[in-house]
């Protein structure tokens, strides 16, 4: 455990050093993230300029949601996304072998090797937005709710990670996997707005599939609902359980894919 923490620290340190070696590039990347934030907030403000609530969420609750989403996206992008995208290149070039030779769990090494510091501020900014939203809402959050919210938030992150891992593992089976980013973007699309938006009749299949089977709709919605709206016990418990289950399933599939790589690579 300690060893893994030390390794994480090493990964983080060297990733930062690597990024700072290209300073202007790094700063421009951060600039882009800030522009995206500006776009996100403008979009949010525009919508709430036209309507006082969206799908039963008022402006402040919605801001909380936006902050939580932004932080989750930042979390995944900082720690995992770059590594997962690089995986298909590792498979293609055969450099995956080097990862497999190391006396470390391959999933740990492959998915955490690089830390993208340019997206790290998103996590902080997301939580700042959450703080601001809480301030606007007026009534403070009960103390016991804070750790539970954080756990649920991590469950959402874990769910996103498991999905990403599953996509990554698919690179072994497909020749070229440029669509990883596209499919990931689709997944984030489903996390991006409160799940109540999908309450239409004809959106039932979406609610079924993406609410229970690939629960992207729940990843951000449930933790935020827990914090500032009515607590839905069933969904909350479901999120927790499914996050744990999918973590193990995605790991099994990933290791299985590595095995396949090891019987097929030439």
């Amino acid at each position: 455990m300690l060893r893994h923490l030390r390794l994480m620290f090493c990964f983080a340190k060297f990733s930062l050093l690597g990024e700072l070696a290209f300073r202007s590039n790094f700063l421009l990347k951060i600039l882009v993230e800030m522009i995206w934030l500006g776009i996100l907030l403008t979009f949010f403000k525009t919508i709430f300029g036209k309507s006082s609530s969206v799908a039963g969420w008022n402006e402040h609750e919605f801001l909380f949601f936006v902050g939580a989403y932004y932080a989750l996206e930042g979390f995944v992008e900082t720690f995992f996304l770059e590594n997962c995208v690089e995986f298909s290149e590792l498979v293609r070039s055969g450099n995956l072998d080097f990862c497999l030779l190391k006396p470390i769990d391959p999933q740990f090494f492959i998915t955490l090797r690089r830390v993208d510091w340019s997206t790290a501020p998103k996590i902080l900014l997301g939580f700042i937005m959450i703080g601001f939203a809480m301030f606007e809402i007026g009534k403070p959050l009960e103390l016991w709710k804070i750790p539970v919210f954080l756990i649920l938030f991590l469950c959402g992150c874990s769910l996103a990670y498991s999905f990403l891992l599953f996509l990554t593992a698919l690179s072994v089976w497909m020749i070229r996997n440029q669509s990883l980013m596209e499919v990931w973007w689709l997944f984030t699309n489903l996390m991006r707005y409160p799940r109540q938006i999908y309450d239409s009749e004809w959106a039932l299949p979406i609610r079924m599939v993406f609410g229970f089977i690939i629960p992207a709709l729940l990843a951000v919605s449930i933790p935020v609902e827990f914090a500032v709206k009515e607590i839905n016990i069933q969904f909350t418990a479901f999120l927790f359980v499914i996050a744990v289950v999918y973590f193990f399933i995605s790991r099994i599939f990933f290791n299985y894919s590595l095995k396949h790589y090891r019987s097929a690579s030439s």
Partner: protein, 328 residues
């Protein structure tokens, strides 16, 4: 102590055909054709501690595949192997800590960072004790003479310099076995010799077992006590280099340099390979060498004589050809 032992190790690859043409591509959406390739067939070998073994063969012979199986990267289709007492493809952690694989032209160092940082990461990954790590880095840097390169970003270094650092990285955790896959490919002669020298040092001082694949004879000639020759997935020779020469090198190359033009006797008796000015080159059967010497010694104005083995590449080539013929 036996470090590597294999028993009928074999690997079969199934390769799917990618058809050309529009219709072909559409068809392949539903029905994929494939072909089986026998990359490695029934390899039986035994390597003892401290040996430096050369693994020779043309491209596509199965060297890299064999090496990958020995390092646990590939599952074999048949047969078994034990490396350092472990079954490689089970990849136990202790096994992974006990050996290193270096692949020529492929780098496992972080591209944008100085090698020193990669080494530190290596230390964490292999859980190398700090004092041991420091000692190793110091020693290895000294041997390879790369002290000034440690703090330059790896991408700024030449291939030769990078390979030296790769080799250092592979030795930091004191592996008992070093597997090298075409380590000198792309290197100039000076860098190649440097690598040979260092590998030789290691083997002497640290008793590391080295298995090295190459298609350059030079690597094998200078370093290896024993060579394995692989062709078309099969082992065609396993023994000493000299034995190879003896068995297949039944000829010698003689070069004679005269003061003036090459005298007629030489033409009459033997078929020269080539004549350039005052130098004549002959290829004769080993048994005929005394005859040639007898004739030449009777000539006047002999400046220089040399008797050489034909290049080992030729010997190996003969080996492959005879093996291919045997197969047919």
């Amino acid at each position: 102590m036996i470090v590597i032992k294999t028993n009928n190790l074999s690997k079969l690859f199934r390769v799917y055909e990618k058809p050309a043409g529009l219709i072909g591509s559409l068809k392949s959406l539903f029905n994929n054709k494939f072909k089986d390739i026998h990359a490695v067939e029934n390899i039986n070998l035994e390597v003892h501690e401290g040996e430096i073994v050369g693994f020779l063969g043309p491209n596509g012979a199965g060297k890299t595949t064999t090496l990958k199986m020995l390092s646990g990267l590939l599952f074999p289709t048949n047969g078994s192997a034990t490396v350092l007492g472990y079954v490689p493809w089970e990849r136990p952690i202790e096994f992974r800590k006990a050996f290193s694989l270096v692949m020529g032209q492929k780098s496992q160092l972080w591209w944008d960072l100085p090698a020193a940082d990669s080494f530190e990461l290596h230390k964490e990954i292999y859980a190398i004790e700090p004092s041991r790590f420091k000692k190793n880095v110091g020693e290895l840097t000294e041997i390879f003479q790369v002290a000034n390169l440690l703090n330059k970003p790896v991408r700024e270094l030449s291939l030769g310099e990078r390979m030296k650092l790769e080799l250092i990285a592979s030795l930091l955790h004191d592996p008992k076995l070093l597997l090298l896959d075409e380590p000198t490919i792309g290197l100039d002669v000076v860098a190649q010799s440097a690598m040979h020298r260092c590998l030789y040092e290691f083997n002497k001082t640290r008793k590391i077992t080295i298995l090295l694949t190459s298609h350059y004879m030079r690597d094998v000639e200078t370093l290896c006590s024993r060579i394995l020759v692989i062709s078309g997935g099969n082992m065609v020779y396993d023994g000493q280099l000299q034995g190879l020469k003896d068995e297949f090198g039944k000829e010698k190359l003689i070069k004679v340099q005269f003061n003036n033009l090459v005298p007629d006797q030489v033409f009459d008796k033997f078929q020269p390979l080539e004549i350039t000015g005052n130098i004549v080159r002959l290829r004769v059967a080993k048994n005929d060498v005394p005859n040639v010497l007898a004739v030449v010694s009777q000539c006047e104005d002999v400046l220089d004589i040399s008797i050489e083995d034909p290049p080992v590449e030729e010997v190996i080539e003969k080996l492959f050809v005879s093996h291919r013929l045997k197969k047919m």
